[in-house]
Symmetry: D2
Subunit: 308 residues, 4 copies
Amino acid sequence: MANKVIITCAITGGIHTPTLSDALPYKPADLASQAIEAAEAGAAILHIHARDPETGAPTGSPDVYRQFLPIIKQGTDAVINLTTGGSPDMTPEDRLAGALTFSPEMCSLNMGSMNFSFHDMGRKVKEWKFAWEDQYILDSEKFIFRNTFADIRRNYELLSDHGTRFEHECYDIGHLYNLAYFVDKGVAKPPFFIQSIFGILGGIGGDLDNVMFMKRTADRLFGKDYVWSVLGAGKYQMPVCTMAAQLGGNVRVGLEDSLFIGRGKLASSNAEQVRKIVRIIGEMGLEPATADEARQMLALKGADRTQI
Amino acid sequence: MANKVIITCAITGGIHTPTLSDALPYKPADLASQAIEAAEAGAAILHIHARDPETGAPTGSPDVYRQFLPIIKQGTDAVINLTTGGSPDMTPEDRLAGALTFSPEMCSLNMGSMNFSFHDMGRKVKEWKFAWEDQYILDSEKFIFRNTFADIRRNYELLSDHGTRFEHECYDIGHLYNLAYFVDKGVAKPPFFIQSIFGILGGIGGDLDNVMFMKRTADRLFGKDYVWSVLGAGKYQMPVCTMAAQLGGNVRVGLEDSLFIGRGKLASSNAEQVRKIVRIIGEMGLEPATADEARQMLALKGADRTQI
Amino acid sequence: MANKVIITCAITGGIHTPTLSDALPYKPADLASQAIEAAEAGAAILHIHARDPETGAPTGSPDVYRQFLPIIKQGTDAVINLTTGGSPDMTPEDRLAGALTFSPEMCSLNMGSMNFSFHDMGRKVKEWKFAWEDQYILDSEKFIFRNTFADIRRNYELLSDHGTRFEHECYDIGHLYNLAYFVDKGVAKPPFFIQSIFGILGGIGGDLDNVMFMKRTADRLFGKDYVWSVLGAGKYQMPVCTMAAQLGGNVRVGLEDSLFIGRGKLASSNAEQVRKIVRIIGEMGLEPATADEARQMLALKGADRTQI
Amino acid sequence: MANKVIITCAITGGIHTPTLSDALPYKPADLASQAIEAAEAGAAILHIHARDPETGAPTGSPDVYRQFLPIIKQGTDAVINLTTGGSPDMTPEDRLAGALTFSPEMCSLNMGSMNFSFHDMGRKVKEWKFAWEDQYILDSEKFIFRNTFADIRRNYELLSDHGTRFEHECYDIGHLYNLAYFVDKGVAKPPFFIQSIFGILGGIGGDLDNVMFMKRTADRLFGKDYVWSVLGAGKYQMPVCTMAAQLGGNVRVGLEDSLFIGRGKLASSNAEQVRKIVRIIGEMGLEPATADEARQMLALKGADRTQI
Ligand SMILES: [Zn+2]
Ligand SMILES: [Zn+2]
Ligand SMILES: [Zn+2]
Ligand SMILES: [Zn+2]
């Protein structure tokens, strides 16, 4: 499968707010239909967050997940990957509730604590759709995305019984070393799926030199035991993905990571971004991996062994 | 001053505990004498933390600082640089108290939140000198070193009236981007003194490839507006410093960063580490900068304008 | 012109032989029509070699150039760039004859001596179209591409009266240092157009890490005084160009550099490769520079001041 | 032998001329005594060229070698490594004569053709000791150091019967790819001893970024099958060696590579440079490998199986 690229699509996330793009889905039906359309366009993995169906505010409530996860499962065989990153307002327990309830094939696992800030993101907005959005964005100046060594260890432990495997989100070089610590301790098991993230304020920047250095460091620390994927925030989305694909890596797109499809142009849907990266890798002679190819590359347990 | 290297010596820090090395100073007289001896050996800057005179536990109390800072000032003209990093038990206010009280020429400023863990450090210890040490070390598995964007902004604001300049402590590549954010906002003023830190669990590792990449990234982000220094934790101390010196950078040594002078061999004092790095840079044709040369390179206000 | 990419198309070169691809032009009419079509597809610069009209063997004869250069000039306003690299059989004088005769806007200038070998290239060929081809390829095991410091200096001198500017062909990191030597001596004048070449046996390989390192080294040596372009030989053509375009560089394609359009698939024409790279950079939000934009970026004298 | 560093000392070479330093040995007795002294100082390998006993001009004559090689062999058990690089005036046959005659444990093997120029080296000289020196230096502007693929293949073939192993001299990144070509063909046998050379005009420069990149590329191409050593020309000698030692590499010093011991200060002997690098690596906790340790690391046949 040397010429196959696993495309993950992150449908909505917990950062962008509804006012920033009309395309950002938060109603269960929209989340499901955009997810299914993204899978049809070439995404093998769907990275999923829940949103309050009325206000679009991030939530980790299993009751909300239940309103759309089964629809997605019925509509596509793509791998469902639930966040454990959540959003600034959630406790560690809130963040894990979805994964513990639905026992998905994959969930995200954030490999370190960090500032995660987007307080300048709403500057140009004149009128907000919902009351919570403005302060939510401003408060991120004070936000620490909490993922202590004790937290990470606990997540590995709690989810190991579920056979759920991890999208190890690494926002900086040090996060690779944190993962190496857990590999050393025998807690993390190969193949490690590493999602390197570029361009978040608080993490490593989106410059392409960083993309290459991240891979080189992962090569040094993990040899052939890892499967590499990347995402770039905002304007870095396509450059970072293009570069990683050239280096033999996999890619993540989706409205969680960027609301845009080109300079100053909002994407109309998650699928539009998937189609764009499919075209780009196609020019390189590469093809999207199917969901089952992704399952094989990442040693996943299969959709039938989840509680969705 | 092309062949001058600013040597900072970090006398005791807030991480190592008294049981780990008899040489680690915590009594005011010992802190002062080791600091002065380090300066005589070639350190131009003394990076200072306070310790409880009885138990050796980290403290930020101005009353404790007052027991030894004047002795240091009287004994040497080296630049006094007070920590604002403190230790896991301190609040943001505790951490700033020393700098606000003494208005030093420099203080440290940590450029991001992160895990900062050393929970495996006491494994080999059979008997502890003080009751607090064991749990203090174990608890670091849960520790987040808090430095949000709002915190950092506040520190710049509070200290700008003092004319105190900053040792910008950067534990990962992202921290350089955080500094770039404050440069962009006009809050940070050149020349930026950047202390890149390698080998702390939670931050970027101590491998030499990282040292070069850190410099390259700083070059890209700050051009000629910064003065670079490095420290390596534990066994990385001398390799990281040697390499940075070769690249035109400055160095930090001291018992805060490593308790050792060679493989498995404890250092007998801070000055012993200073003397070692002085010999190494000497082989390269480099010399330690004097305190006044350091003041000029870093645009410091001068010892007479502090409240020590 | 931040989002403009100068596309150079190298129509036929002096390495590939007619048997290797039916699309490789060597008759004057074919050279002209493929060049014009490449320009129409988006190439701003046409890098030109001559071939014997009967046998397709490389030649530097002005008489042969005269059979198609005027046709190209009449058919397109693209910049005409004549090789001075020639082929293994030519003397230094042969190699310069075209440039001295036609005084083009640009000519190539190879920045160092090196092995330049392709002796394994004909292994799969059963029957050769022309008698010279087989031995020509095998002999390259013994070939040294001669470009001594004295030769390079002489080329600068001979062509400076013509106002012809240079495509500085750099096949390895050392060639950048060679150029830096001539910059230091005041012989080379900015803006330097640097063509970095990857994947020739004898030069630096086509791995993408090399592309980034080449740029980093050029940045260090030449700062803002250079305009960067790349070419990748054979299978490296599109990956190398894609990566450089992402890094803000310019690109060269064409049948001189690769006979292929995809894995194992021969290109049907030079223009087909131009169209492919135009699509790729288009996905990045970039556009081909026009010939006049290229002239401006490279400080060229203009087509009307040549002897074509 | 993780903390052992193989020190090679290159006693006289074929580039520097007698006028440039009184310490440069060319009389048989001086060559022998400096070589033995260098070995006593810590060199495990002696890289040897011959010089005309009267004029100091480079020679490849076995008759000249015979005047001092046996003395060296008797005086030290260090590995004797004969050049096949020779000097600009020698034919390929001249260059091989010594190795074919004496069947040494090692000989050098230059991995590519290149410009190798030092024509500015004599600018400050007012009076030359010997008539040949001035023109010899000036002529290097026209010099190509010839090592075609066919030449290299022939050297492997001619010397394979002798059990002589190679110091693969790589002056640029492409030379590593050339070696990889011969590895691929099954001609070169591991462990490959790679001597990376920095700072020769015509090859890769002496900047430390290049040293790290050279190692990274070798790691990628040869994995664990190679033993790495470096040399830096002139002022780059000690920085390049220091850096490589930190990266786990081995080092070459000696008057062939640099006539200096510090900024503007001529070395008084080869041994003085050996002693300096021994001190530097000592500060890193590293020790010089003995000759027998070097033999084991490089799989050499032993001094008793040579014709010296
Ligand atoms: Zn997410
Ligand atoms: Zn500190
Ligand atoms: Zn050409
Ligand atoms: Zn030699």
